[in-house]
Symmetry: C2
């Protein structure tokens, strides 16, 4: 009934495993106070922070990127809705770029893969120049990364 939550409570409410929360703390994405016992105690505000992390992950940001986004929040006071929306404002374009890539890929499915044109050179249309879209592992120098001089 206190407004400080244990790690188990936060895990349950956020849907993020306790082990992941400790991991995030280790990576300095979240922080906790400690009870006399050494147990973690979280203010409710951590839930919003975690929601933000999960959101950002779904969009495709790495934990490192998320950390640097979070570092833009005011350290001295509780973030306002304006603070939060400032952070996420840049994401809209990121999302839009990813959507655009997916749409190009969708087009490429019929235009490239299906037809006889499939030279990889032409199919660089799959990803003209948006490095932002590089999410997850994949071929190292396929597109966007410096190509081996052909």
């Amino acid at each position: 009934m206190n407004d400080l939550l244990t790690i188990g409570e936060v895990a349950k409410r956020s849907g993020v495993a306790a082990s992941a929360l400790r991991f995030y703390e280790d990576r300095e994405l979240i922080s906790s106070e400690r009870a006399g016992s050494g147990h973690r105690r979280y203010p409710r505000s951590v839930l919003r922070r975690i929601a933000f992390i999960v959101f950002a992950q779904r969009i495709g940001l790495s934990l490192e990127e998320i950390k640097s986004e979070l570092s833009k929040l005011p350290p001295d006071r509780a973030p306002t809705r304006t603070d939060w929306s400032r952070l996420s404002s840049g994401w809209t374009s990121r999302i839009d770029e990813r959507i655009a890539e997916l749409e190009r890929l969708r087009a490429g499915l019929t235009e490239c893969i299906g037809c006889g044109c499939l030279s990889l050179d032409r199919c660089r249309l799959a990803n003209p120049d948006d490095r932002a879209a590089r999410s997850g592992p994949g071929p190292r120098y396929w597109v966007g990364d410096p190509r081996p001089a052909s």
Copy 2:
């Protein structure tokens, strides 16, 4: 000038590293004949196969999934454009789902993160029930996976 390519040539033409090609062969996504020397020799058709793999990865399929897609190609003859397009036809919906999720996330940015409503429960709107969208690592039971009974 032969129509059989060495691994180096395939790497150069496809933009996929030779080590990755060996890796794909090990995972049975592609195959090669061998010259008397034991060196790999690829028919040109492998380029299309590789393009397909790269494409599919960008869309978000795992190598395992791609392997099972490729296994649907006729083993006895060179795949026609119809064969290829049959494979990729199912992807359109997959792409559309991912796009839909990104659009929900974009909406959530302003609706959820910014405002006071950010209870994680409500923000399950971030991902109602599409498991297909689970691409890449992330919180294990956030959405779609069986939630811990609350």
